[in-house]
């Protein structure tokens, strides 16, 4: 496909142009550059940092940056994690709030529950918002709640979140337990409801047993390569490969756990992306930033907020090593609403083909969503 430089400029604003190096084997240039690529953040965030007061409408600046970002879809977390008795109720409240937010910004986003919705988002230049829950503690022994969550629009269900829940082990638990009997029943129910199983945040044995127990493809939506950085939130190669071998997709996150010095740079991210592709193959790697869509302006207000969030997480026992009052979920030199544009260029500069870049930017996740959510399989 030919590129149109003006069209491209309009879409990608200030992004550099290294993408021009990304060519297919036949010499054609990637569709990434002309805004045709399906760009999916397998674990994103979508709050308007510029909005004034209590207005439910996203600000004009946010709307403009969302359009520039080139993102087609983002998977958005709607649950409260952890084992507090009220997590079910608070999750339902979060879903209602997010539904309202989407309703109040119809020109910018749509609630995505099917692959058709993602294509529609692309066509209408909106962002498709996919609902995920990160934890099954809110389900517990009441597996019918999985169906209820599906009814409310949730499409991705992560089994555990850092701590042990009734199904299995989070990655911060030193016990490294495997699946409980309920854990196996939970996975079976997630699969029966054709929801996407996510094994991010799980401990090693729970990941391995979760993949072995699964009969359909799954994701580890936001993780890193533990072979590069030995951090409990990252996954070892055998688990990454096992996920890929079952047709699954591993999303690499943009957080401090990528780097030994806790300050992840694009070079760290590219190292993890390359390693993941080597281990999993190019059809099984994606992006799950765990970043907001917008730039994180690190000012006094942001620092105060992060300090509060960190202290809450530490008190709840869910803060992983490396989290801190001054550690933000960003890749510092790519902290921009154009992060996917920067990534495409970075991967191209690293020698990736246009085809491979397209897969990682969104096509792999699109295929996985299609495989898992389809009502006719």
């Amino acid at each position: 496909m030919r590129m149109d430089r003006r069209h491209c400029l309009k879409l990608i604003a200030l992004a550099p142009f290294a993408w021009a190096a990304a060519k297919d084997e036949d010499g054609s240039v990637s569709r990434v550059g002309d805004g045709e690529a399906m760009v999916i953040d397998g674990q994103g965030g979508l709050y308007d940092p510029y909005g004034a007061g209590e207005s439910p409408r996203f600000s004009a600046r946010a709307a403009s940056e969302m359009a520039q970002s080139g993102q087609t879809a983002t998977s958005f977390t709607v649950n409260e994690v952890g084992n507090a008795p009220d997590v079910w109720d608070s999750t339902i409240r979060n879903i209602a709030e997010r539904d309202l937010s989407i309703l109040n910004n119809p020109g910018l986003m749509l609630k995505a529950t099917t692959v058709a919705d993602l294509h529609r988002a692309k066509a209408e230049k909106k962002i498709g918002v996919i609902y995920n829950v990160q934890d099954t503690s809110l389900v517990g022994a009441r597996l019918d709640r999985i169906r209820l969550l599906k009814g409310l629009g949730v499409r991705v269900m992560q089994l555990t979140y850092n701590n042990r829940n009734l199904s299995g082990e989070g990655c911060l638990e030193p016990g490294n337990a495997g699946l409980s009997r309920l854990g196996r029943a939970t996975i079976a129910r997630i699969e029966q409801e054709k929801l996407l199983l996510d094994l991010s945040h799980s401990g090693q044995r729970t990941v391995a047993e979760g993949i072995a127990a699964a009969t359909r493809s799954m994701t580890i939506s936001h993780t890193g390569c533990r072979a590069l950085i030995d951090h409990p939130r990252n996954q070892w190669d055998p688990e990454l490969k096992a996920c890929a071998d079952k047709g699954g997709v591993v999303g690499i996150y943009w957080v401090s756990f990528l780097a030994a010095n806790k300050r992840a740079a694009s070079a760290d991210l590219l190292r993890h992306m390359n390693h993941a592709v080597n281990v999993c193959g190019e059809d099984h790697v994606a992006v799950g930033t765990d970043n907001p869509l917008f730039k994180t302006e690190i000012d006094e207000k942001a620092r105060a907020e992060q300090k509060q969030i960190y202290e809450q997480r530490a008190a709840a026992g869910v803060a992983a090593p490396g989290e801190g009052p001054d550690v933000f979920n960003i890749v510092w030199d790519w902290d921009s609403h154009l992060r996917f544009r920067l990534l495409a260029d970075g991967l191209a500069a690293a020698g990736w083909t246009a085809r491979r870049i397209e897969k990682v930017l969104g096509e792999n996740l699109l295929r996985l969503y299609g495989d898992v959510w389809a009502d006719d399989n």
Binding site: N83, A84, L172, E173, P174, A177, G178, S180, R181, L182
Partner: protein, 357 residues
């Protein structure tokens, strides 16, 4: 060591009269009255007095991970409170060792509240203090399945304690409640004993070395419990033996084995049965079958449970069961001191150490 010597004498009536007899895990049913009637029959009261039992536990919680277990347990506590107050001529709600002595003096039965599972507490550890306030004195960590703290004995994964499990044990100890590791898997049992800083109980279990049932505990865990000053109660349950209803001979085998492994200061009774003769009729069999099927559906039925299986020893299913036990132990060669300890002396010491120091 206790072995049948052939010249043992029965346990003396005077010694039995003065003994403190505690069932460390029990239920209650009046077999002579209407099951829906809260007030006990005079025959049941007479039999309970004749039994010589000083104290027993009442399980007041609903086990399992359903979200409503907390509310259901509070409701049960209210119901048991009422049952005791309606029958205050026989029972008293006991929260300390002084209540045991009072029950002995007044010829009543002291009832200690027991929760079997911490699923109802979950991550809200303040609920441990609330349960203490409501009178609970014994807290069992897990019940057959995994909960947030650790694994029950029916979980094939045999996980150890979670981080919350460590915090739960610390809170149980902080509140000076008795930690009970019955129904836990081997690793959870072992890690919990290692984590505990105070003596604990395995209130109703058997010796897995004699019959490999997941509800029983291996020697290593029994010994570790004793080594920390704890007490192991032997149950009167089908898990004592495979493929047939258990008899007193099976119980005595387990008692002897536990004595060898733990020592005479660390074993007790935890029948998991009722004090009076078990009522078995068509209606009760039907109810038992339904309950068993429910337990199977919930995944909490252990191997050996069944639609027509009751927690009884076929030859000792009478309100005089502990008198029979004392004689049976004497006949097996146990001396009077050992028998007194097992009947209740050991649990009384453990309760005092846990609740009052």
């Amino acid at each position: 060591m206790a072995t049948g010597t052939g010249h043992a004498r029965p346990f003396s009536p005077a010694a039995y009269d003065s003994a403190v007899v505690i069932d460390g895990c029990a239920g209650w049913d009046d077999p002579h009255g209407d099951p829906n009637e809260v007030r006990f029959t005079s025959r049941a009261i007479a039999e309970a007095r004749e039994s010589g039992e000083t104290a027993c536990t009442f399980t007041v919680n609903k086990a399992g991970n359903d979200p409503d277990v907390w509310c259901a347990s509070i409701r049960t506590i209210a119901e048991v409170d009422r049952m005791i107050s309606v029958n205050s001529d026989l029972m008293l709600k006991a929260t300390g060792v002084a209540d045991l002595h009072r029950a002995k003096a007044e010829k009543k039965i002291a009832a200690f509240y027991h929760v079997q599972d911490t699923a109802l507490v979950g991550s809200d550890l303040d609920r441990v203090a609330v349960l203490k306030g409501l009178g609970v004195r014994i807290m069992q960590l897990t019940y057959n399945l995994r909960n947030l703290s650790g694994d029950g004995g029916l979980e094939p994964d045999n996980a150890g304690l979670s981080r919350l499990g460590h915090a739960t044990i610390a809170r149980i100890e902080h509140e000076k409640l008795l930690l009970d590791l019955s129904h836990a898997g081997p690793r959870t049992t072992a890690e919990a004993i290692a984590a505990a800083t105070r003596p604990m109980t395995i209130s109703h279990t058997g010796c897995r070395a004699l019959n490999d049932n997941p509800r029983s505990a291996w020697d290593a865990e029994l010994r570790a419990c004793a080594d920390k000053g704890g007490v192991v109660g032997i149950y009167w349950m089908p898990f004592l033996v495979a493929n047939r209803p258990p008899t007193s001979a099976d119980l005595l085998r387990h008692m002897n084995h536990a004595l060898d492994v733990c020592g005479e200061d660390h074993i007790a009774i935890g029948t998991d049965g009722v004090l009076l003769k078990t009522r078995i009729n068509g209606e009760i069999l039907a109810a038992r079958k339904k309950r068993y099927e429910q337990r199977v559906a919930e995944g909490i039925a252990a191997p050996g449970e069944g639609p027509d299986v009751f927690n009884i020893l076929v030859d000792w299913d009478t309100h005089m069961r502990f008198r029979l036990l004392a004689d049976g132990l004497a006949a097996a060669g146990w001396n009077a001191r050992q028998i007194e300890k097992v009947l209740g002396g050991n649990l009384m010491r453990l309760y005092s150490q846990t609740w009052e120091t």
